[in-house]
Symmetry: C2
């Protein structure tokens, strides 16, 4: 290729590109602005499209870019802070704007979940599908597993499944009283099933938050929530949604 670079750089091209583009984003582009298409950009930098894409991938991972098939690549807004540790997250009333029940049914608990719940693997539990919307965008999809034993007062008046039933389960769970929570955060990839709802392709990176709800010394429920890693910053603590300038590349010197 050309003789543009004169550095003795053992630095990969895509990484250098990432840096160059990152700086360009800071200085020459504004949020929402659309970048030149990948073929043009690759040509402009004198690299193959695959290499250019590797750099774009990084920037998307860091929440700097947003790419949509058929549309283009745009400059992403700073990540939104979503509060994960609010105390009354599951109270249907208080959290109506944060979580909405999509569906509910009785289903077998996966082995990992069954273990945490202390029920037999494959035992049927309530499975609530919930969705979290923030700033007009779905930022998280969740599966909430509630063993029948945790909601003894649940009547059969409501339908056996559906959103209404789900809300009834939540109400009853809340009525039992929850005295503690326990969370873990790890990196994962979107299941094909959640991909559409989160408007991402299968395999896109997500932050998986596993929550255990305790009641009277036992694990009353387990929630597995997947947050879009590109657009979300999970906040914990007393001051939930303080706006912080985004931290693209882990931290600067």
């Amino acid at each position: 290729m050309g003789t543009t670079q004169l550095e003795a750089a053992p630095e990969p091209k895509y990484w250098h590109l990432r840096t160059v583009l990152s700086e360009a984003l800071d200085s020459e582009f504004s949020v929402g602005e659309i970048l030149p298409n990948e073929r043009d950009l690759a040509a402009r930098f004198g690299v193959a499209r695959a290499t250019l894409r590797q750099a774009l991938e990084q920037l998307e991972l860091e929440g700097r870019l947003q790419r949509r098939r058929g549309v283009g690549t745009t400059v992403a807004p700073p990540r939104v802070g979503v509060a994960v540790a609010s105390t009354d997250e599951d109270r249907p009333g208080a959290s109506a704007d944060a979580w909405q029940v999509v569906d509910s049914a009785l289903d077998a608990a996966p082995a990992a979940v069954a273990g945490m719940l202390g029920v037999r693997a494959g035992e049927s539990v309530h499975v609530l599908r919930r969705r979290r919307v923030s700033h007009g965008q779905t930022v998280a999809a969740e599966l909430l597993y509630v063993p029948a034993a945790s909601v003894p007062g649940l009547t059969a008046i409501d339908a056996p499944s559906g959103p209404a039933r789900g809300r009834a389960v939540l109400r009853e769970l809340q009525r039992q009283g929850l005295d503690g929570q326990d969370r873990a955060v790890e990196l994962g990839s979107v299941r094909a099933e959640d991909a559409k709802e989160l408007d991402r392709l299968p395999g896109a990176p997500v932050l998986v938050v596993t929550t255990r709800y305790f009641s009277k010394g036992t694990t009353a429920a387990v929630a597995v929530a997947t947050y879009r890693a590109d657009t979300c910053r999970l906040t914990f603590g007393d001051t939930p949604s303080v706006e912080i300038h985004h931290t693209p590349e882990s931290h600067a010197s």
Copy 2:
């Protein structure tokens, strides 16, 4: 390619491959076992190496695989749970085994950090480099920013920089009394500088934990810690390091 698959699958090859490999890992491989090399695997599945690599990348992201140049691809152990919200994380005595001070110096605070600390951008603050070791492996690198105003009692007896000075800063910070913390977790990529320490290539995914320490109503310090996303599960809450079966693909139905 061959006529092995008979599905009308609009599913990408790499995604299908990921699933197949994932199941194979569950049933036919044990932790630490070394997989066939990428060229062989690609040939075996009748795909290009790039496609095979895309599948491996996914599995590595999910913490199922570990790839090392010059060595090979091995089956990764379940992610280790690292407690992030323990109350006395910064007490030098109690956390000696978790965090170790690598270095310390006075340096300009990056804009984002300066904003949180309430100091002028570029103002000189104590910058502590710390490292967290778990199960004999470095799982996190951290930069702790402490403005001079937060450690008024700091004497000039110790060296102006170096690990010893860092420990002195920590001691003094602890002596001032911290009355609260505030955390945010987001996805990022390893800086080139941290890459070596974490034994990862630049750009590898990390969980960036930004912590603000409060004292007497003001932000006394800010820490930016980057955890290896492939090997770590961040835990919050009362029961820190309970072993949970890993959750590879966000969650199973």
